[in-house]
Structure formats: C-alpha cells, structure tokens
C-alpha cells in the first residue's frame, strides 16, 4: 500500500515538473526544486532519527509525509493551468471557512460561543462568496475583487438577519460570521488574485510564511538552550519576554524577531526570480521589508488563531492533515501575510 502511495506521489511531482518545464517557468522550477530537495533532506533525517530512537522522530515523520502530499498537490495545481489553480486555491479558502464555522457548536438557544441554527443561511452566503471571488479574480476585475466582501457581502449578512426577523443573539452571530468572511474569504482569498500577478509571488508568500512557522520552533529551542544554565540577569529576562503568555507561553519576542530577520534574509533569494512588474522589478531593499513583515505577521497570525482555539477549548482545528491538525492550523499565518504582501506589492509596483 505504502509503495503504491509513494509511486503515486512521485508521479504527481514529476508530472508537475514536466508541466513547469513545458511552460518554461524557470522561476517556479527553481523554487519547486528547492522545496522538493528540502523534503528529501527531511525524509532522510527522520529515517536516521527513527533508527536512533529519537523521541521526536515520529512527529517529524508524520509531518514530513503530510508535507510531501501538500507540496505535491499544491505543485500540480499551480503547474497545471490557470483554471485548476483558481479552483484549487478557492477550494482551500472554502475548506478553511468550513472548518472555522464547524469549530463552533450550534444550538437553538442563543448562548455565547455558539452559533444558532438560524445562522445557516448567512453561512451559506459566506460559502457562496468564495466562487464569486474566484470568478472576479479570474476575470481580473481588481476593483470589485477587493471590495466584494468588505462592502457587499458584509452588508448582505445583516440584511439577511433582518429578513429573518431576529433579535436575540444577532450581534454575536454577526460578529462570528463576518470575521470568518474577512479572514478566510477576503484575506486568505487574496491568494486568488496573486495568481494573476504570477504564481511565483504566491510561492514567495507561502514559502516564507511556512518556513517561518518551521523556523520559529527551532529558533525558540535554540534560544531556550542559550539561557538554560543561567539563573537570571538581563539576557535571560530579555529572551523570556513573551508576546502573550496566556495564549502561548513559548512564543517570545526574541524568537519572533530573530525568525523574522532570518525570513527577511531568505526572501532575498526570491528577488532574482521575480517577474517584471509594470513599475519595475522587486528591489532587494523592499524585499527585506516585506520579508520582515511576513515574519512578524506570521507570528501574530499564529497567535490569533491560538487565541481563538483557546477560547473554544480545542487544541487543533481539525484532523484532516495528520501531524498538523486542521487546515486552519496550517493557513493561520497565511491569513495575515497574504493580503499585506499582496497590497504592498500592488501599491509599489502597479
């Protein structure tokens, strides 16, 4: 079984490489080769760790295997053609939105922290806004694309509430629904318009954000090991300064800033691969700023959804990705980094 699975995985990956070669997309080929190379390194590492009975080996194994599948599907979707990329990313938005709405229990009485059964029509409207966003991004209608959700859908939802003749719990339900819309259909949905600029920009954002997630774990471990033997003092206090201790005791400002600096430096590798924008090419200086912002926003994206999950007393948002949790656990930082990167690029170069 696992053999056939690996063959299937290899087929998907080589098919996407072939498609990229045929399209002559050198930039994407470089990035994809780097990612696949990194995954091969990780696969070798977990086999080594497993043979040495290292306690983290199982966790790394599970995560790496899931990463292989996510990368393979993502690569194929981006390499295939424009429609497939749009549908794939749109489905990702939909799945994240669905997971968000499913996190909350639903009841007939209007309690805090629960949705009401009368919210279902508005939730359906939220889902329908995703294909609408796909369509608007596909026909490249930028002006409407950026206002559809914050203006039209945002106003449609309370109108629906009024038509349902609701009173009790309406403000709470409105809050829950519209924040889901903004996070996953609008902010995360910006990845749809990024394909129009070029898949490489999407990779810039995705890769740097995900690398930051991985990196912050190891940077955190490294910084903790530096202060392990010290009993106090200025250095230890500085490194122990937490962003939000109640949400996540492990996330310190020091880790966040060091990771953001590393991400900013890594972002420089993408600069020569970037296409020609109407107002020139991405400069090294601007990429440093973007990379640093991705680092900082990624940290906050992570923390915001930790906060939400803590409020709802769940650890993972789902079980769909073994070793990672749900889709929201994977895309939480992207919700924050994608729209900012997109708008900063658009503002400077278009």
């Amino acid at each position: 079984m696992s053999f056939y699975r690996n063959v299937f995985l290899a087929t998907i990956i080589s098919a996407s490489f072939y498609l990229l070669l045929k399209r002559d997309d050198t930039a994407m080929l470089y990035v994809m080769t780097a990612i696949v190379g990194l995954l091969i390194v990780f696969s070798v590492v977990w086999r080594l760790l497993e043979s040495k009975k290292f306690p983290l080996a199982d966790e790394i194994k599970k995560r790496t295997i899931t990463w292989w599948w996510m990368v393979a599907v993502f690569m194929l979707a981006l390499a295939f053609n424009r429609i497939v990329s749009f549908v794939f990313l749109g489905f990702l938005c939909f799945a994240a939105l669905r997971e968000y709405f499913s996190l909350l229990p639903m009841s007939e009485i209007s309690e805090s922290k629960t949705l009401s059964f009368r919210d279902r029509p508005s939730i359906l409207v939220s889902y329908i806004s995703v294909p609408l966003m796909i369509f608007l991004a596909y026909i490249k209608w930028y002006e409407l694309f950026v206002i559809t959700i914050p203006v039209y859908i945002f106003l449609l939802v309370p109108i629906l509430f009024v038509l349902q003749n609701r009173t009790e719990g309406s403000i709470k339900s409105l809050g829950i629904i519209t924040i889901g819309l903004m996070f996953f259909a609008h902010n995360f949905g910006h990845c749809l318009f990024m394909i129009n600029i070029g898949p490489i920009l999407l990779m810039y954002c995705f890769v740097l954000t995900e690398v930051r997630d991985l990196l912050s774990y190891w940077v955190g471990k490294f910084l903790a090991s530096l202060t392990e033997n010290r009993s106090g003092g200025f250095m230890k206090n500085l490194l122990d300064y937490r962003v939000a201790g109640d949400i996540s005791p492990k996330k310190t400002w020091a880790t966040g800033i060091v990771s953001a600096v590393i991400v900013a430096l890594l972002s420089l590798a993408f600069v020569p691969l970037m296409p020609q924008f109407p107002n020139g090419r991405l400069t090294y200086g601007y990429s440093l700023i973007l990379g640093f912002l991705i680092g900082v926003l990624g940290l906050f994206g992570d923390l915001v959804f930790s906060m939400v999950k803590r409020d709802l007393k769940t650890k993972d948002s789902g079980t769909i990705l073994p070793g990672h949790g749900g889709i929201i656990d994977r895309v939480d930082s992207l919700v924050f980094t994608i729209p900012v990167t997109f708008h900063l690029i658009y503002w400077m170069y278009f």
């Binding site: 489905f91 639903m106 059964f117």
Partner: protein
C-alpha cells in the same frame, strides 16, 4: 450499475462539500450499523462504511408515513433500500420484518433513537437493537458516532449547508456476550452498552 454510480457520486459530493474523511471499511460479511440520528445526510455517510459493491446487500428502515410517497420515498427505496415500517403497528410486527431481512443475509443500518429528534441532542435508544442482538448473537453491531450533520441539514431545513462532519466507528458489540443473562436483562444491557459507547464520544 446506475445505483453504484449514484452512490459513488454521492460519496464524492459528501467528501468535497462536507469534508467527510474516507473511513476504514467494515469487512464483515453481515453487520449491523447503529448510529445516532440527526439528519437525512446521516444515511449517505453511513453507507460509506461499506464497499460500493455491497450497496445492494444493505437494508435501512424508514417510517411509512414519511418515506412512503413522493420523491423522498422514491430515493429512500431505490438508493438506500429502505424497508418501510408503519409507526402505528406493534413493535413485534416491525421486529418480524427486520428479522426477515437479517435472515436473508442483508446487513442493516439502524438508528436506535428511532427519529431525528431535536438537532444536536441524542435521545435515549430504543431497546429493539438489543432484541436484534440477542436473536442474531453472531452478527457484529458497530456503534457509530456522527457529529456535525445536524448543522448541515437539521430537521425542517431543505438546503444543506457545508459543515465538517465527523464519523467515528467504535468497537463492535456482539449479542453472544450477553446470552448468559435473561432475555429482558440482556436486551437492556446491550442497548445501554451501545448507547453509552456512542455517548462517550460526545465532546462538550
């Protein structure tokens, strides 16, 4: 053939829109699936526990007054092999019908609550499931916990709204483990065992 195709299509739609993960299939030649009932979607999801080639070897039970006529009844009878049961008649007669189907070798999907009830609230199980277990002691009964279906399509709603639906298949219960008790006692114990296994999965 058409039926298998429709089932495959239904399974694909359920996976895409409701995020139901592909469950491990039940391999027993004959089995009974007992699940909590909240929504019309439940039956479609429970069919996924069996291979698609087996959809003709499963029977479900439906109330005659609700599923007897119209499109709803047609779908229930053609796609989900529903055996129509009158709500009015005695429990014994209903039981005879079930027994008949099980003796012919069919598997069964049963909702021991009897009805969808209030969304999200699990009613007490009816003892009929325990009776079946005692009469067919070697057929495994798989308790299945379904969650989230009541959000997608609660009682009274007509349009399904996508929500993640969870399905958890629990260890089977066999009637043969309860043959030492007297009939009434055994029936009650099996029913409460199945109910408590499902109830233990509810997350608050």
């Amino acid at each position: 053939m058409v039926k298998q195709f429709l089932h495959a299509l239904g399974r694909a739609l359920v996976s895409i829109f409701l995020g139901v993960e592909n469950p491990p299939r039940i391999k027993d030649m004959q089995c009974i699936i007992a699940a909590n009932h909240n929504s019309h979607i439940d039956i479609m999801i429970l069919f996924r526990l069996l291979d698609i080639s087996r959809v003709n070897r499963v029977k479900t039970i439906a109330a005659k007054d609700y599923f007897g006529t119209g499109l709803r009844g047609y779908i229930a009878r053609i796609l989900f092999n529903s055996v129509l049961v009158d709500r009015g008649v005695s429990a014994r007669k209903t039981f005879e019908i079930l027994k008949n189907e099980l003796e012919k070798g069919y598997s069964m999907i049963i909702f021991p609550e009897g009805t969808r009830g209030h969304p999200g609230i699990m009613d007490e199980f009816k003892a009929g499931i325990g009776q079946i277990a005692i009469d067919f002691p070697n057929i495994p009964i798989y308790p299945v916990y379904l969650s989230g279906a009541e959000k997608s399509l609660p009682k009274g709603a007509t349009i399904p709204v996508p929500f993640c639906i969870g399905m958890k298949v629990l260890d089977p219960v066999y009637g043969r483990d309860y043959l030492g008790f007297n009939r009434k006692e055994g029936r009650r114990m099996i029913t409460s065992e199945i109910e408590s296994r499902i109830r233990s999965q509810i997350r608050h």
